[in-house]
Symmetry: C2
Subunit: 183 residues, 2 copies
Amino acid sequence: MDRRQRKTRKAIFDAFTDLLKKKSYARITVQDIIDGADVGRTTFYAHFETKDDLLTSLCADIFEHVFSEDLGKEKTHDFSVEHDTGAMITHILYHLQEHMEYLPGILSGQSGEIFMTSFKEHLKDLFSHSCRSPGVPVPQDYMMNHMVCDFAETVRWWSQNPGYTPEEISSFFLRTTPLFESP
Amino acid sequence: MDRRQRKTRKAIFDAFTDLLKKKSYARITVQDIIDGADVGRTTFYAHFETKDDLLTSLCADIFEHVFSEDLGKEKTHDFSVEHDTGAMITHILYHLQEHMEYLPGILSGQSGEIFMTSFKEHLKDLFSHSCRSPGVPVPQDYMMNHMVCDFAETVRWWSQNPGYTPEEISSFFLRTTPLFESP
DNA sequence: TATGATACCAAACACGATGTTCGGTTTGAT
DNA sequence: ATCAAACCGAACATCGTGTTTGGTATCATA
């Protein structure tokens, strides 16, 4: 990877996220992006196969950040408590908060699905050991889907109702989805 | 409204739902629809402003059926118990079942949002008197959104995991979302 | 049976967005 | 100085949308 390549790639990402703060994904054209990034059309398609590919890459970047592996040893946030599920939730919300400006632009239509599909995959991994069997005949897969969707929809709600702290949102989630085991 | 008009409209709806059983909404073109309905392009646009308009109309038809007002006095289904929330849920699921074949084709991408937005509006009306305050500081709006999304996602899950009865699905939902008041 | 309104049809069109191809230019390492 | 890479913009083919045009079928009424 060249230095120029990285620079161009960053310019495209920046223009893209900038646009997402104003318009929804569906209303953004490739022309908008290359105008904003001041980049040739050919160059854009040299970096990304399609507009969806760009979005997928952006989501990958976001999730790499949000689900970074320093969950327990985190110092920047105000929990030095044990690494329990609640703290994990709060941690993720803190990281997500940094992307809140342009999240509403993604979380609708086809783009919302691209984001959510990947998001839910990550959440499944995360929840796989926190999901307790309800002791009643409910399929495990339903259970997992239920928790994952609850959290994803909580994030969507947050993006439409900003002004709450990650701790508050975490509290809302845990109180309405009391499905976790304490470790 | 002419008799011819109704016939044409029905032909378009039928072709549309037929296509939805095979392809997702996003992959269906207007050309596909008018070919399937054996109808001229001009005629299609005389009936519906856009493809989205057709979908919106279809959703309206579905919900008119699903949320029909005979909730309490229903005899065809096997609950003659009191008109409580559980029975209401089961009733809705019974009606939704009749549209299950083509629901997966709708419940993704932009079309999923069109469906879900309208669906959630109906559910809000329905749940507005069944939603109990959790006795803890969780915003009422969050609460309502939580319940509505839970049910909507349950339906989505059902559409991807067919083979369960409405009673089973209702039970899954009520056990994982214990937020209702008994009347 | 003649007439006129209304629905219908096919074909062609303008438009907007996508993704590709072309020849030429800049950058930066050797 | 050279050479490969990344870049540029302009033109292009393609596809789907929604509109326009001019003509045909249906059906009620006179």
